[in-house]
Amino acid sequence: MIHEYDVIVIGGGIAGLYTALTASENAKVAVISKVHVTRSHSVAAQGGIAASLGNEEEDHREWHMYDTVKGSDFLADQNAAEVLSKEAPNAIYSLEHIGVPFSRNSEGKIEQRRFGGHTKNFGEAPIKRACYVSDRTGRAIMDTLYDRCLQKGVVFYNEVFIQHLLFALNNCCGVAGYDLATTIPQVFHAKAVVLATGGCGKIYKTTSNGFASTGDGFALALDALLPLKDMEFVQFHPTGIYGLGILLSEAARAEGGVLRNNLGERFMERYAPTLKDLAPRDIVSRAILKEIREGKGADNKDYVYLDLRDLGKERLNQKLPEITSFVKTYLGIDPAETPIPVAPTCHYIMGGIPTDVDGHVLVDRTGTILPGLYAAGECACVSVHGANRLGCNSLIDLVVFGRRAGLSILKEIKARIVQQLPLQAESIVVDKINSLLESKCTESIPTIRENMQQVMTQQCSVFRNGPALEQALTHICQLKKRCLNLGLTNKSRVFNYELQEALELNNMLRVAEIIVYSALMRTESRGAHFRSDYPERNDEEWLKHTFVNETPTGLKESYKPLAAGRFELQKRRY
């Protein structure tokens, strides 16, 4: 079946919906999601969204920009960080005006709280910059965008899994996938296609990400021979619920929670004397694991305590109701009375599909634009987060750059000639599905997936080193080969999740290989990428972005040096 639209957005999280909403001003827009749109993982965002409104104390766009650049360990493109910090306040006001129910202070203004790495006056002390909706900020923004999209006539295709981007004369002119409910191929013809497919946390064993975060958009880009950029930079959030990885927002520490080791010591004071528990995530995650390695894990196990007892019941209830209930449900403890066992959990990928600040997907490191294709959100790499993203900068990235992508589309589709769909659009999908369903091979999905998650967690997470990464690379390549021989026992064409998981596993392995490869190549430590064998940042050789392409002879890397920005390089101390 062929569906005709002006704009197709793949992924219904905040980036996808904001792009859709913006484009719907003057275009026929559809959003396609492999889950129901309202299940997109943006709903799990808790703590807040950053903008220098200055509602609680003096704040400036320059301060926000500086924090973003320093937080990125100077790998952010400063022009992108400038766009983000400059447009952030207006983005918040526009969210407020379409109905996002921000928490309010006593004056009735949008309330703001502290967050990791956000400071006043270029690093002096923590600042209240995070706007929020208690600790369900993502959910509230998603719900508002969803309702506004409904009013604007945006059409939702739920539970459709996209497999291919379609091109004609080097223009992206549509996408092809299948309906999960029926396995019937679906082809979408459009003048503009937006990738807003989110991240790939499920590559790791312990993650805050949902089951749907399998890097599908990255695989779509790779199929289109596009490079992936800065994929070695994977963020581990310091405070996942031990064992489960469920996110406990940085807001917990912003509201006064502290991390403690087995001695009851507030150990972050040693690692970041100024910001302490509100240091950026890369630093806090490393500190936690270092404490554990030195035998100072709480209860002498491999976790530390997040101590929220000082906040008291009322404050927890008012400011952090969701995470309080998560802790009660899954650990059976009351955070007002008992410290919570936490450990780093895979949370976010800074790298992704290269784009410019207007959402255009770039074909190479020289910045050639691919007409008709756009990307926004976690799957895109505008290079605003560099080597480490600050908390609250993700949601604002989705809105600022989602809007910019939408505006570019509105401007450009008028002049765009409608390209013919390639004739084999449907059959590519049918062949892909049939070859899996009819395969006589016997490799099992859960085994390969667990193997991959194990390798990535043990050898390519917070601490990395050359030999381990080489082993991991070999291992992932072996798994990729085994993945060619998957045997599906479920032959159904109605909601065949084994088939879906087979396709997702293939996507994840491709992304995993690129993460490991990029990490192996980068022989320095920067932001979230820490190499025990190269523990220092090396600006002389490595102040550059990684681009990796899949080629017939294997992965191939190239680099793009960073342009100088207004903030000069400095050692990152907090």
Binding site: T38, P101, I246, S492
Partner: protein, 246 residues
């Protein structure tokens, strides 16, 4: 320890009637019911079909009927049930079953759409500052913001399952309540009008089952009652209203 799930099965391609399959898995008291279902799917029978995504009760994918009550499989733990007996796992009631535990949610999302006014609010947006809303004003709809659109309340509502299939349903009214009580929205009259239609808010008979099962502990019935009160108030002439309230 061993836990046995008795799971509703229906494959539209091969079955005329649904049936139940027992599955026994190794589980701990603190494991989620979702973990048990995944063990079945990944270790025993990969045709077992159910939705899931975030696995911690925020996306709303895995609403099921567990031991005869609507609940999220990722929010309920083994220890929440008498696991010495079989735990009964069925799809959400009210909705039609597509396969095993998957129901057709189109009627649910259609209702969310149906309560959304077709004329969007003015798009003139002041980008230079926010509108003022006091914490007290905001508190009138704070509870409704917790809704994750899981559909558990539809499966639990006796009106929907037994009396009026067309009833707009708890989650939709709650969603509307969120906007009606938001001091920033100017389209309250239109929204009240939508809820006054047949099968609208007056369909609610206050069984309180939505409130009982709500995985986010929202006082759904209370929100519906406040919406009804608002409609009555709006119908009364202003002076009468003031007299009534004094």
């Amino acid at each position: 320890m061993k836990v046995t799930l008795k799971v509703y099965r229906f494959n539209p391609q091969t079955d005329i009637q649904p049936h139940y399959d027992p599955f026994t898995v190794e589980a701990e008291p603190n494991d989620r019911i979702l973990d048990c279902l995944n063990k079945v799917r990944w270790q025993q029978d990969n045709t077992l079909t159910f939705r899931m995504s975030c696995a911690h009760g925020i996306c709303g994918s895995d609403g099921l009927t567990i031991n005869n009550q609507s609940a999220l499989a990722c929010q309920k733990l083994v220890k929440d049930y008498d696991f010495t007996k079989e735990i009964l796992i069925e799809p959400l009631k009210y909705f039609s079953v597509v396969k095993d535990l998957i129901v057709d949610l189109a009627p649910f999302f259609e209702r969310i759409k149906s309560i959304t006014p077709q004329t969007p609010q003015s798009t003139i947006v002041d980008l230079e500052k926010e509108r003022i809303q006091t914490p007290q004003e905001r508190s009138l709809f704070d509870d409704a913001l917790k809704c994750i659109l899981c559909g558990c309340c539809y499966g639990a509502c006796p009106v929907m399952t037994e009396q009026d299939q067309e009833f707009v349903g708890p989650a939709a009214i709650l969603r509307e309540q969120r906007y009606i009580f938001d001091s920033r929205f100017a389209d309250v009259a239109e929204r009240l009008q939508i809820l006054k239609k047949p099968h609208g808010v007056w369909g609610c008979k206050s069984y309180y089952m939505c409130t009982v099962v709500c995985p986010k502990h929202i006082k759904v019935t209370g929100a519906i009652l406040r919406t009804k009160k608002k409609i009555i108030q709006e119908q009364q002439p202003k002076d009468e209203q003031q007299a009534g309230e004094s």
